[in-house]
């Protein structure tokens, strides 16, 4: 039997660089297609709406779209974490509404300073998540049931907090500024370029490290494609957002990256780092993949569970704060309606497996883009909510079917 010899490069032909096309074909055969179907779907959606209405691919609309999805996407990041564990959290919508109400009431009615009110709103989420996680981990009650109970209870709490008025109109500039201010063009480009360079540096360092360890590496062409694509998307996005969005040319120009989008992207980057680079992230995948294995490895499974539910509810609260800030208000409908379902659908459409242990934080962005684009496009075409829901439902079904069939293909090929 051949032994693994880490320091000789020549005797492991299997690590030869793989060409672009064969690697794509192989990934397809293994059912390891990554975000490709979502990207294709997104491109098709954009194409269809652009043909139907030429306002779809305009700077104004696209910027609106990203602001619209920032809240849903942030909640969806938390859902991704919970799904990675193989669990589900149905209370995120209610929690986001309650957090926004707590913030609104404290700021407007109690006159708390903005920072404290925001922190209190987010802390509400953290507290709720910890409680629900503890219940799920310690009492072995299925997360479905605990979060369903939460959905009802926190909905009630929201109504209780808002009291008889039912609506709190936000007036504090800081709170409103969370979602409604803009980063200047110069700062936007500087941030964008720094992000691209950092991304390229991380990828290249990773490649080097793999080569040094004689591990399989992707081809330089593929690497260049990845960096180039991300750079292009970033520059084009920032460029789009730098164009004046104010239809009134005479008035002051409206340009720059909306702060809600910056917050959402920051959340994505932070949680991508946490899930992929830290022990904690690795343990989430381990617990979601095989609880017994995680337990045997000495991982504090209950601790991971509680932490993940805590993070999920915290992110839901953040999403609620973002939404309230964008809409200048917190009311009885906050976090209601399709908030919960869209957040879960976004995570799943983005490619996070419902069966645990598989998925990426970035799928929250992709899924949110898909759902947001459908909603936005249909609004442009003045279609009814009825059709919007039906189309979104169909897309969700397709995405879950893809996940299930990928899973069965993996099992069939022993992968």
């Amino acid at each position: 039997m051949k032994q693994v010899t880490p320091h000789t490069r020549s005797d492991m032909p299997a690590v030869e660089k793989e060409a672009l096309w064969p690697s794509i074909v192989r990934r397809f055969q293994q059912g390891n297609v990554g975000p490709l179907p979502v990207l294709i779907g997104l491109a098709m959606i954009a194409l269809v709406f652009q043909i139907a209405n030429d306002k779809f691919l305009t700077p104004v609309n696209l910027t609106n779209l990203t602001v619209q999805i920032a809240s849903m996407g942030t909640i969806s990041v938390g859902i991704v974490l919970v799904l990675l564990l193989g669990e589900v959290d149905l209370s995120v919508g209610a929690v986001s509404g309650l957090a926004s109400a707590v913030m609104g009431v404290l700021s407007v009615k109690q006159g708390w300073p903005a920072g404290l009110a925001i922190l209190a709103g987010i802390a509400t989420g953290t507290l709720i998540g910890t409680l629900q996680g503890f219940w799920i981990a310690k009492f072995r009650v299925p997360s479905f049931v605990v979060s369903l109970a939460g959905l009802l209870a926190w909905q009630g709490a929201l109504l209780y907090v808002l009291g008889t008025t039912g609506t709190v109109n936000l007036t504090d500039k800081t709170i409103i500024g969370i979602a409604n201010s803009r980063v200047s063009i110069e700062a936007g480009f500087v941030i964008g370029i720094i992000a691209i360079v950092a991304y390229a540096a991380i990828l290249i360092a990773e490649q080097r490290g793999r080569q040094a360890m004689n591990l399989p590496v992707q081809s330089t062409v593929m690497l260049a494609w990845r960096i180039g694509l991300i750079a292009l998307v970033t520059v084009v996005t920032i460029g789009f957002m730098s164009i004046n969005r104010n239809p009134n040319v005479e008035a002051a120009a409206v340009r720059g990256i909306p702060s809600a989008v910056v917050i959402f992207i920051a959340v994505l980057i932070i949680f991508d780092f946490i899930t992929r680079r830290t022990r904690f992230g690795r343990y989430i995948y381990a617990v979601g993949g095989n609880v017994e294995a995680a337990r045997r490895a000495g991982i504090n499974v209950n601790g991971i569970r509680i932490a993940v539910f805590m993070l999920c509810s915290t992110l839901a609260a953040c999403g609620g704060v973002l939404a309230a800030s964008r809409l200048y208000a917190s009311n009885q409908a906050s976090g209601g309606g399709d908030t919960l379902l869209n957040a879960i659908a976004a995570a799943v459409i983005g490619g996070t497996s419902l069966f645990g242990g598989r998925g990426r934080v970035w799928s929250a962005l992709l899924g949110a883009l898909v759902i947001g684009a459908i909603a936005n496009g249909m609004d442009l075409l003045a279609m009814s909510s009825a059709i919007k829901f039906m189309v979104t439902g169909t897309v969700l079904l397709i995405a879950v079917t893809l996940d299930a069939s990928t899973r069965s293909r993996r099992e069939n090929t022993g992968r």
């Binding site: 360890m213 591990l215 381990a286």
Partner: protein, 535 residues
Amino acid sequence: MESLVRCLNVSKHFGTLPVLQDLSFDLRSGEVVGLTGLSGAGKSVLVRMFAGLEAPNSGAISLDDTPVTSSGQVHALGIAVIHQHPALVEHLDVSETIFLGHEVGGLRRLSWLNTPNQRAMDNSASHILAQLGVSVPSLRERVGNLSGEDRQMLAIAQVLARSPRLVVVDEPTTLLRYEYQQTLLELIRTWQSQGVAVLFSSQNLDHLFAVTDRILVLRHGRLVLAVDTDATSRESVVSAQIGASDQQHLTPMIWALDSYHRAREQAETLRQQRRVLEHDLAAQDTLNRQLIAQLAEQVTSLDRANTALQDAQRRLLSEREQERKALARELHDQVIQDLVSLNYAIDELRADIADPEDSHDTIIELRDSIRGLVTAVRDICGVLRPPTIDSLGVGAAIQSFSSEWSSRSGIAVSLEIEESLGRLPDAIEISIFRMIQEGLSNVRKHAQASAVQISLKSTSQRSLLLTIADNGRGLTDDTNLAALAAAGHYGLLGISERVALVKGRFRLHQQTRGGVMLEVEIPHARVEDDEDEFF
């Protein structure tokens, strides 16, 4: 030495079913203790308690007086467990799996948020795998893509990645092939020499007696035997396992247990080999079947061709004989009669001539030469077709031919022909005659003999034996028919072909007193005359 591990009054029950009852034992550092018992004796539950995955209902397991309470604290205590069936995370890669829960690098304080040093882990992972003799496609290969055996080896590698003070091994060998089993036993010895305590749970007596210092036997959750390995025997271990002391019951039991394990090991190896073979065979089988079919077809067609060829040759030979016969008859009936009548005519002519004196001598000469011609033609006829063979049979033909040959060649011929031979089928008679012709001609050409002995007799009612023996110089040692034929000598080859055509056997003997004996055995249908006599 102080005890490292103390298991004190441990009891466990599932519902009302007692699994472990009041179990107590100690383990010292550098000691290998075997744990055995039949299936269901409680071994695995005990192992899971060591892993912190089950809690005892009463009593405690402690390491350096710290009781084991949860799986999270087990590794910190320095306990590592190799379970019977590995549990691994499918989506993690090899390197991540080996170091799961024990990632290298980063700050201890904020251990959850630190980022493990992947390169350091890859390095030591590949060293550990090399040490175990395990080969994986890559350290980034997902565990879900590996075989059951490789996964079990990864579970062992997880233990090597830590530095435990106590290793609990729960019968992992059922999934492993022989080499890996030996690797594991070697590993246990290494741990022993490094002062690591090992609790080795196994039903395999070979393994237990190979590495352990002490053996504990569980039966129905109770510790029934705890002895030094050197002071016990397989019989007593097995008797403790099954709770019998009767030697007569024991022997077949130990035999059964021992051979059961050996058989299971072999079965495992065999199963793997069979899988490979089946795979190969499936591919080979179709090819083989095609080849065999083709071969059979070729053989059949060859047989058919051969038969056809023999038929053709037989027909050719008999047709030639017919032709010769016809030719001889023609010569006899036509040419000779003409010549005779010509002779008479000349005689008459001589009497009628007026002046006989002038032409007398000429006519005499003429007549004499015609007589000479007649004799010559008669000789030719005799050679072409022995005249006696058709009328008097092969015996007479041989007699007349051999006496004529003898006087011609000056070699003495002695004949021994069975009187009761009677008439034989036409083809056989002519074949025998031709063989003798050919044989004698060979003797004259090559043997330098002074005497030839021919015998023809029946060995049974259905076969004849013909021998032709000379007293000549014999054959060279390397004589063979193919070489002779290649050199242009067809005599012996012709004989052998004739023998083959009548389905007989042909042999050449080098005689001890010099010369060659040719022996031909010919089967034949019974001759009709004989049959007549028979009735």
